[in-house]
Symmetry: C2
Subunit: 374 residues, 2 copies
């Protein structure tokens, strides 16, 4: 994606290509991040770049735990946290620790493209299930998909690619389901929440805390999107302090973090984020971009569920063949991603974490392509 | 290891525990690293922490390639390099890309403890082979271990835990062997060199360049040891430009870097190391520590091969049970690692990347334990 975009930009000039293909935030990191980084680099003590425990610096894990305790309304300790190389690193560590060969991970579709790889890396299998027409959870679909091979349900809220947020009620229902079916099957069924977009929400919406909804739960997240530092690979995982196998899980995950080759989350960035817990870019900027995009596309006849969070729009394609439709947009130098890759055929993903002018200037192209289908 | 050491230090006071258990360099990063980091943080442009291609920033890969071209005496291009989360990340990426289920990786013993995990992570199997009494390569042992399941030979020179360097002649011999047997078996046999200690060598020794010895070769390395920044997780892999499947290898490894959850090597550190190619701590300090340790232990009757590189000593244990011997040292508050874990039973590893006073103050304990065996 990255390379293809670069190629087109070289050919046509960067300003003439409208690249909505990547979740690479265009906002700059907030001022307190930049200050914290400067200060940290200036004041680094001896050994500031050395190895630390594979789980991360104790003081960093403590500050993350303190922040998370408030967010989740559950007392979380330093020992419940492992610092990771982003949420992608966290998910691989979690899967390595919990999956037996052929184990299944259920995930509501559409879902983040990489999940299938992450499961397969560790001998597991991703099993997508349908959601409601507005992309909220369909608990019956999850229930129908549970087998004696199920190990976990993986959710992503706010969702990439739909921007949907799952309600507290639906998480409680999901927790109850996993609890009941886990008892029947004699197996712990985990609920894993990948939530790097938690702070990027609109219209006063909130992302409910997972840990009060279900005990056998694990959070994977990163600072990539809320602080706009995805290239730095810093995030963490948190195990619910009330999980039945809390200690075994954390032991296994610490080992997995080491042997998968992450070893530890990058030292300097651990220390930087520790001092700015809760920091976030100005989300109203993304809200404005969302409105700009939604208003424009709606006028041209595009159909979509207006996203409540993240920075993606997932409209229907007027052509049942979403790859073909995305190619038609590409001829207008508009780069988007077919929904099929996300388990959402008949749709396409627009990442609107781009400059306003990209959105504005792409509008005539979006209009022309849609007009061919009317 | 890390945690056990921390526990003993808490109990007895840090100054009274002699911790030789970890390859965590005690030297501070060189001044040019610190300056480069300061400058980079001050001058970071917009998007300085964004995603870049999964393989790394093009300009960073270019500067690595330029440096490596001189070191290896082979013209290496930006496209032959993938920036990774340290050498551990590089090895996992390489194995993910080249291993089929049940494939075997031959490695001369003693070997770095993690190799077995790295191979198993991706469905492979580590197959250790013996070395000569001075820990140099035993080509016949490698030859005898090759089967139709062999995919690669993994070497580590200077070696952890022995400090041995493999000669150019032996690498040529090894290359010839792999070439001949690969043809017979109708399979490409790779030679992978894990070389984070390349710059840490003594007595005028040099580490021969791999790429002129054998075409089907891959380098994995990091800046952890030579710049003393192991916590930052920055390294790279390089594919021999003359490798038969160069393009397929690099494509597979770029994908592996992404889907294993590394995504990319940390952005800021990529840019920092790019500007200080060739930087290294003052190796004469490690040489002094080596001599201090070797002279002392030799006087007490310890037997060992004096290391030519890295910062490890791998003496024989007077007790055939090396775990028992290491426990006896631990009672003297001297922390070392049994050789069995490295596939070198009857030995133990001393990491001497510690303060001089740790070496000096541990001497009476080393003496007392040895005396019990005389």
């Amino acid at each position: 994606m990255f390379e293809e975009g670069a190629f087109l930009k070289k050919e046509h000039g960067a300003g003439n290509v409208y690249d909505f293909s990547l979740g690479n935030p265009n906002l700059q990191p907030p001022e307190n991040f930049r200050r914290a980084l400067q200060n940290m680099v200036t004041s680094l003590k001896e050994g500031g770049h050395s190895y630390m425990p594979n789980t991360g610096y104790p003081h960093v894990r403590r500050s993350v735990a303190d922040f998370l305790s408030v967010e989740q309304q559950v007392a979380i300790a330093e020992g419940d946290i492992i610092m990771t190389c982003g949420a992608a690193g966290a998910l691989n560590v979690i899967f390595k620790a919990i999956l037996d060969p052929e184990d299944e991970i259920i995930t509501p579709a559409p879902f983040f493209v990489e999940y299938g790889f992450y499961a397969e890396n560790h001998g597991g299998k991703l099993k997508p299930v349908t959601t409601e027409p507005d992309f909220t959870l369909d608990i019956n679909a999850v229930a129908a998909a549970i087998t004696e091979k199920t190990r976990a349900v993986l959710i992503n809220s706010p969702n990439n690619p739909t921007g949907q947020i799952y309600s507290r009620e639906s998480l409680f229902e999901l927790g109850d389901l996993l609890n009941a079916r886990g008892k029947e099957l004699g197996r712990t069924l985990y609920l894993i929440s990948d939530e790097p977009y938690r702070k990027i929400v609109y219209d006063g919406r909130e992302v409910p805390g997972l840990f009060t909804c279900y005990n056998e739960s694990i959070i994977a997240t990163s600072y990539s999107k809320d602080i706009s530092i995805p290239g730095e690979r810093i995030g963490f995982l948190a195990v619910n302090p009330n999980a039945s196998y809390r200690e075994e899980l954390l032991g296994g995950m610490a080992l997995a973090n080491r042997i998968l080759g992450f070893v530890n989350a990058p030292a300097l960035m651990q220390k930087v984020i520790s001092s700015i817990q809760g920091a976030c870019v100005d989300v109203s900027v993304y809200a404005r971009k969302r409105d700009l995009l939604c208003d424009g596309l709606s006028d041209f006849g595009y159909e979509f569920v207006k996203p409540s969070g993240a920075f993606y729009l997932f409209p229907r394609t007027p052509d049942p063949d979403d790859v073909k439709f995305v190619r038609a947009l590409q001829k207008e130098l508009i780069l988007t991603v077919p929904g099929s890759g996300f388990g959402g055929p008949g749709h396409f993903r627009i990442a609107y974490c781009v400059g306003d002018e990209t959105i504005t200037n792409a509008m005539p192209g979006f209009k022309r392509v849609m007009e061919k289908y009317r």
